[in-house]
Amino acid sequence: MTGTSKRESFRDVQVDPLPQRIDAYPTQTIAGFPVRPGQALPFGATPVPGGINFSVYSNGAERMTLVLFRPGEPRPLAELPFPPSFRTGGVYAMTVFGLDPESIEYGYRAYGPFEPEMGHRFDARWVLTDPYARLIAGHETWGRPSAPDDPYPYRARVPYGDFDWEEVVSPGHRHEDLVIYETHVRGFTAHPASETSAPGTFSALVEKIPYLKGLGVNCVELMPTYEFDELDNPRTDPTTGRRLYNYWGYNPLGFFAPKASYAATGRFGMQVDEFKNMVKELHRAGIEVVLDVVFNHTAEGNEQGPTISFRGLDNSTYYMLTPGGYYANFSGTGNTLNCNHPVVRQFVLDCLRYWVTEFRVDGFRFDLASILGRAPDGSVLPNPPLLETLAHDPVLRDCKLIAEAWDAAGLYQVGSFPAYDRWSEWNGRYRDTVRRFLKGDAGTVGDMATRLAGSSDLYGRRGPTASINFVTAHDGFTLRDLVSYNTKHNEANGEDNRDGDNANNSWNCGWEGPTDDPEVLRLRNRQSRNALLLLLTSRGVPMLLSGDEVGRTQDGNNNAYCQDGPQSWFDWRLTEENADLLRFTRCAIAFRAAHPALRPRSDRSAPVTDQLFPDVSWHGVHDWTPDWSADSRLLAAMFYAGLPSGAEVQHDCVYVAANSHWEGQRLELPRLPEELAWHTFADTAAEAPHDVYEPGREALRADQSRALVGPRSVLVLVARSRL
């Protein structure tokens, strides 16, 4: 049965088929393939009528060859040298006709000098991965090494760009409404107890969307999801002899390519589709997607590292080099990406635009972002062009841009990161202050107050949404370990416990590590709830570390980057075992969502005139009388928002009392007008299930003028009308 109808029908619309383009024709034959001079832009491999356009740049190369492979075959199918007439400036471009994107892998051989002292490390023995590769084959199975003699281990392919997004669009949450959940795609579902059909993949994350939605988070921040080398770790666990991984993946190989082994369909080369489907389903559930991106170094490492892509294409462009041609190491990982070289700036911009336009992600968290503000010689730029470009780019306009505002070479910019009114920061000060306050350090109450109210000392002009508040993140202790260990226990990482941060501000509550002591366990449970409650009632954007809501432990390991196993994975049995903590977290998230007083608008619309209370007020044992003295361990804040409701004003008022003293304290409550009454939302001194109430069903307090805040406890009240 054959024959094409003259007119295609698309629903009710009749569309004439387009005529074939007549200008897409080959001009010559190279290595048996019909070719013509290609389009220099866009860079990368792009399907065009009749074939594929290849474009790659190198400022230092003398000549370039396109190398084609049949999928998976070790020997090239053909090598096509770019004729001089196919080069424009430093860009080599060729359209090859008759190529089927599905049955081709491609790479480049770059010819040029090997003169490290001059910055050149060309080595034509290697086939190089296109820096713009959007699909990378060869590593579809997690943890499977390349053959040692493989001349081309990371094999670029051309993905299909089509995907049916249906009518789904990003929820487009305002910054102040975000509750971020930081997780690891593999670790979230790799544990057998996840009971997903393809554990450790993008599709398994989709199966867990109901859990995320139930928890109430509305943004997931995914640790590296681009192609990286998980085997880039020479160490073994000294006790078990088990090989260690680079499990976190902060060592990029392909900035444009979703990690193949995170896709159940990677073996079909469909990781692009699976990733898009994940974003689509998260969006459908009202959850945004922020990607952790690492534009500070690559997996090629230092002088001893492998030549995979950048080093062999344009070493001195992509990397910061010392005058002798060695790699500058501001990242602590061997090399430093030369982010403020104009070519690399464009590369970073192209990459982010690709993820936003093609995958519809909602933002990025930039690992060691302060490196992005360094000049090619490593000096700190006052006005870094890359950061400014990203802040003003029209494609990225609605993106959340989140900086880890420090680097591994001592630059610490929390509060001073060049923000251009666009960037938010991981607020390291917030983390440190909450931890010190909770363990009862003296002299922290004033600082804690500043953090709770949105860190105006750091972000006064930019507003609280510039502050990403967190108590724990992937880097460091989990929340459970923060209250169970005084010191790190990283022996399993194979570095004699030397790796990882020593300044954890943690407290084990009386016993180091696992214990049966009910008093210690009770205190740990309370301290965990205290941290969650402070985080979720603070102004700014809260970020939770995945698993903290169910008491996930890493056995005191505060640098689990190499632990691909149960120590790092989310154990889904904990959702049952610690159902009380999960409920507590869920309620605290819902409470935040219900109270605009905790989430002032970043555009600062004019306040209503007849406000009951100030925006933030401070209290203590006596109302309206805070105690800021060095010995004080009590903080009581009242957050208020007057919301216009027709001709009336609706009052939203939340009272947060945090006591890090080992004794309870009796507090005078601020007086409310007649029609309102204090209700208890959460009291961490109470045992579950009385530690928290469902938002909207808080318990009316018998005593409206006084409240007891227990030892090392947080109490949260809400003013509601008397019904």
């Binding site: 049965m1 054959t2 024959g3 094409t4 109808s5 295609e8 029908s9 698309f10 629903r11 089927d100 994107p101 599905e102 049955s103 299909y160 089509d162 049916d164 249906e166 059909s197 393809a198 993949t201 599709s203 989709v206 896709a263 159940a264 369909t265 079909f268 080369g269 469909m270 589709d273 699976e274 898009k276 489907n277 689509k280 389903e281």
Partner: protein, 106 residues
Amino acid sequence: MSFSATMRLDDDVATIRLTGDLDARSAPEFNELVNEATGLQVNRMVLIMDELAYMSSAGLRCLVFAHQKMPPGRDLVLVGARPEVVETIKLTGFDRSVLIEQSTEA
């Protein structure tokens, strides 16, 4: 293995039997047939896939396009697709577009 596709029409049901390899080279032929069937305004398109040896991502995409070309409320049914094909369709989210059945009815 070479690809072939044959179509049978019964009232408003188009049944297309696929054999061989459905990949980027054979996908256009399949697409033509899909266009023809949708042009006939069928209510239901049934693809018999148990003799399909291989289906690539280009082949999967044809299924999605087949569904998009059908008016709302009409069914696209896959019969006898191999387990790895069904799995891929599900994991990439394409299963929203199609109905999957184990074997030929009757």
